[in-house]
């Protein structure tokens, strides 16, 4: 009960629970190769570093995502979720 409230505040304060990743710069985190594999900068609605190892992007059109090109650009894992959300698994050292 009390914990629930804490969690609500927690969520409100920071979408990611780790302070250092919140502070991490969001811009230009993705290389040009990765951007083009995602269909170009124009196809990206938002991007956010989350969960230590992932970059969460929201795409206008998921169809423009080129999985093979992403792999070639050095993104070992890709997870396509609903609503245009894609997780790029960039690993622990990407921050």
């Amino acid at each position: 009960m009390f914990e629930k409230l804490q969690r609500a505040f927690w969520k409100a304060l920071t979408p990611d629970l780790i302070a250092e990743t919140v502070a991490a710069p969001v811009q230009n985190e993705l290389s040009a190769d990765v951007l083009s594999a995602l269909g170009g900068e124009g196809n990206i609605k938002s991007q956010q570093h989350v969960a230590l190892t992932r970059v969460r992007v929201q795409l206008q059109d998921v169809a423009e995502l080129d999985a093979a090109a992403l792999k070639a650009a050095g993104v070992p894992g890709v997870m396509v979720l609903g609503g245009g959300v894609v997780h790029l698994l960039t690993g622990l050292n990407s921050v």
């Binding site: 914990e3 629970l17 969960a51 890709v78």
Partner: protein, 841 residues
């Protein structure tokens, strides 16, 4: 005996493989839970890596373990710190005890929700039953693909159980420095195999087949663990005898002094837990780092008096410089004060005289200095007073510093590993000053108490610490993973995952709550139904006053005037005192209360410039106002100094330890005389501390003669329950939540309000968030709290309803004991917060 096929574990998820060492969570990377792999998932359904039975599934759905028929147990833990999600984002598809096929879906999770709300999605796959394995994949894996090959051979080798009752050995303490790691475990297993009996090695509730190397290693024994051997079968007795001897002798490893180890067998405690006293709250999971001071070699005979005299002089000079540097580095902190005190010790004439006498006898500088400090420290200790005993520790510390300089011993900066939990008999300020505090997670000491340096330092750093732990803690192996739960005063030697996660979650919530409270500290402390409670600060210096204002303090509810000049050998001049009070009053301003408590000293709280006779029972002796009335000049002088600050703040004077009405009358008369002498036409408010039961019981008689009451719950509790709150055995029962103490508070408030006077609480009870509802419910008007807790207490008040508090307070007065009061308040707390979070939705 059935030969067992190697077992293939299939990938429970698709994703990217990572080595366990790289996982940024020490609980897993230390392999405390078990060895295995980590997958950063790209699929959202966790499937069974092997066929078996669900041996455990967490309610929150973030972890599950499957055990197969041969006993191989695999734990899967989805994400890091996902226990905090309390089940959100996870759907359990199986029940505990259910049999599952390989590849069967076990848990579904919402990867996006978890990624956005938890620390990480990194999923652990651990073989917790301890069998060795080889990894069959790397890079990317697909769910269902072979992942690891487990060799269960040895773990279940001895399936031919001998029938009959098992015999048990006496418990014994494991002497091996690193526990039964591979080599000694192999020696032990080999010896066990020489017997027909079925033999088990037991560590608390766990046991392992003694003939299996892997099973023994999976017990994860550590130095000092308490073990037992059991055996069943015809040669059971011989087996136990031989194996116990082998264990005591170290299983082929050289162990420190076998005789000692045998002796330790006699004094076993079932030690998975060591207890101490909380010196600084909080919790931490980290590794043991033992702090040991090197022995210094001191030669007695000097090389000529002049040379030795010069050597001592150089040592003292170098130490003074070092201490000055340390003060500059720690400017403004409690530590700076400590080093300043140390510097003064270096100039102490008796100490120097003692050393010079020995030099004149031809002793070496090191010997002379060491003898002088040791002898003086012994004198301090012999006085049997806790505060002075702590100062003996200071003297030993400063003595050591000079000694090292004389002997040319370099103080090597500690090379601390990460996540260190420092363990020491006693930590000195010099040791802690050179600490890399970023690497320290907590402190555990054998000596010391709530006023020791390690306690002060730990509180200043916000790190957990416990003191008064048994000597056994000093024999824990370096690097052992332990869980320090300072709130409960416990050190867990074999912590389990659930406990670590619970405390970690609590710690994170604490941090978050603190941030929120500080951000809102300037808001008034008004209950939801509009009742304002004044939240003020307990302070002992101008610096603390300033700090309290930035943290939302609404005034000073207790200025402990005796602390202003604690380290003086002579009373400060009247001008100096007046200057201090005026500075504090100015800092507060004319709109805020300043409550100055007159000198509260006595046999238990000595003040150097107020010499007094030793008393057999100082707590019942000349303390507080009693001492001041015994030496009225002291009180007059203090009144004059305090009155100098009249007008700069709303000045209140408070008398401590009042038990008789006559004491109040006498003190008021002196105050009136001094005010008249200064030509003041308006007297400051005069109140008394309620800390003696007689004053609380007679509050209706006192009330017409005072302007306010302030309840000192610490003393009130120890006098009401007749329990010393520093008593090692009674301290935990000397609880201010006892209904008897709360009834006295109720009596006091009722009497005060009947005469239109206000009541504050300035004891430790006011600083406890749990106590706030009952204090408000009883009608307390002001809570004077320790400075760092001002935001917390204000936030707590804002969550409450006065009407509810009154109801709960009435109920609580009828309870039987402190534990029931705490329980009732905890329940009430949970309920209030639930309803307030409902309101927000």
């Amino acid at each position: 005996m059935t030969a067992t096929q190697p077992l293939e574990l299939l990938a429970p998820l698709s994703g990217v493989l990572l080595a366990l060492d790289t996982v940024p969570d020490p609980v897993f990377s230390s392999r405390l839970i078990g060895d295995g792999l980590c997958i950063d998932p790209t699929s959202q359904t966790l499937c069974a890596p092997l066929a078996g039975v669900i041996s455990n599934i967490q309610d929150s759905g973030h972890a599950v373990s499957v055990t197969d028929d041969n006993g191989v147990q695999v734990l899967m833990h989805i994400g890091l710190d996902t226990v905090n999600l309390a089940g959100q984002g996870f759907t359990r598809l199986v029940q505990e005890g259910q049999r599952v096929a390989v590849g069967q879906p076990l848990i579904e999770f919402d990867a996006d929700y978890v990624a956005l709300n938890a620390r990480s999605l990194l999923t652990l796959v651990l073989v917790v039953s301890g069998e060795p394995f080889t990894v069959l994949a790397n890079g990317l894996v697909e769910v269902g693909q072979p992942l690891m090959q487990v060799s269960p051979g040895e773990a279940i080798e001895a399936t031919d159980e001998e029938e009959g009752d098992a015999l048990f050995s006496k418990p014994l303490t494991l002497p091996n420095a690193n526990g039964l790691h591979a080599r000694p475990a192999a020696v032990f297993a080999q010896a066990a195999k020489g017997f027909n009996a079925s033999i088990y090695l037991h560590k608390q509730t766990q046991s392992a087949n003694a003939k299996s190397l892997v099973a023994i290693m999976a017990l994860q024994t550590a130095h000092g663990d308490t073990l037992q051997v059991s055996a069943a079968g015809e040669d059971a007795e011989a087996a136990i005898k031989a194996l116990v001897t082998l264990l005591v002798e170290g299983c082929g490893e050289t162990v420190a002094a076998v005789a000692e180890a045998v002796e330790a067998v006699a004094a076993v405690s079932s030690a998975t837990l060591l207890r101490g006293v909380c010196a600084s709250p909080g919790s931490a999971f980290g590794q043991v780092v033992q702090v040991v001071e090197p022995e210094l070699a001191i030669t007695e005979q000097g090389a000529g008096e002049a040379a030795e005299r010069a050597a001592l002089q150089r040592g003292l000079l170098a130490a003074t410089e070092a201490l000055q540097a340390l003060q500059a580095k720690a400017a403004g902190s409690a530590q700076a004060e400590i080093f300043r005190a140390h510097q003064e010790l270096l100039e102490d004439p008796t100490l120097l005289e003692h050393a010079h006498d020995l030099l004149a006898e031809g002793k070496s500088a090191a010997f002379a200095w060491n003898s002088a400090t040791v002898a003086t420290a012994e004198q301090f200790k012999a006085l049997g007073n806790t505060l002075l005993a702590e100062r003996a520790a200071d003297l030993a510390d400063v003595g050591q510093r000079v000694l090292k300089l004389i002997l040319g011993v370099q103080d090597s900066a500690w090379d601390l590993p990460e996540r260190a939990i420092l363990i020491a008999e006693q930590l000195t300020p010099s040791q802690t000053a050179s600490l890399d505090t970023r690497k320290v997670l907590g402190f555990v000491t054998v000596g010391g108490g709530a006023t020791s340096h390690v306690a002060i330092l730990a509180r200043a750093l916000g790190l957990p610490a416990i003191c008064g732990v048994s000597l056994q803690v000093l024999s824990l192996a370096n690097g052992k993973q332990v869980l320090l739960d300072a709130d409960k005063g416990e050190l867990h030697l074999n912590p389990d995952l659930a406990e670590i996660e619970r405390l970690e979650a609590a710690r994170q919530q604490q941090t978050l709550r603190r941030q929120r409270e500080v951000a809102q500290a300037s808001l008034p402390a008004t209950t939801r139904d509009g009742h304002h409670v004044e939240v003020t600060a307990n302070v002992a210096s101008l610096q603390e006053v300033e700090q309290s204002l930035t943290l939302g303090g609404e005034g000073v509810g207790l200025l402990r005037s005796e602390f202003l000049y604690l380290d003086r050998n002579r009373a400060p001049s009247p001008e100096e005192q007046a200057g201090t009070y005026t500075a504090i009053a100015r800092a507060l301003g004319a709109e805020r209360n300043l409550v100055v408590r007159t000198l509260d000293v006595g046999g238990d709280k000595p003040l150097a410039y107020v010499p007094m006779e030793a008393e057999t029972n100082p707590f019942l002796g000349l303390r507080g106002i009693r001492l001041c009335l015994e030496r009225p000049e002291l009180l007059r002088e203090q009144f004059r100094a305090i009155l100098a600050s009249a007008g700069f703040a709303r000045l209140h004077i408070m008398l401590p330890m009042v038990s008789l009405l006559s004491e109040l009358h006498l003190a008021r008369k002196i105050l009136e005389e001094e005010a008249a002498a200064l030509g003041l036409n308006e007297l400051p408010k005069l109140g008394i501390m309620i800390e003696v039961p007689s004053a609380a019981l007679m509050a209706d008689v006192f009330a017409p003669h005072v302007d306010f009451f302030s309840i000192g719950t610490n003393d009130l509790t120890q006098y009401t329950l007749a329990m010393d709150r520093d008593h090692p055995r009674l301290a935990s029962q000397a609880d201010s939540f006892h209904p008897a103490v709360l009834r006295l508070i109720a009596t006091t408030v009722k009497a005060a309000h009947a005469h239109g006077k206000w009541v504050g609480v300035c004891g430790a009870l006011a600083s406890e968030a749990l106590a706030v509802p009952v204090l408000i419910g009883l009608g307390v008007d002001e809570l004077s709290v320790s400075v760092p807790l001002i935001p917390t207490i204000k936030a707590t008040v804002r969550e409450l309803d006065l009407a509810d508090c009154q109801i709960i307070a009435r109920q609580i007065l009828g309870l039987e004991e402190a534990a029931q009061v705490r329980e009732a308040l905890s329940q009430y707390h949970a309920a209030t917060v639930e309803s307030s979070s409902v309101l927000e939705h």
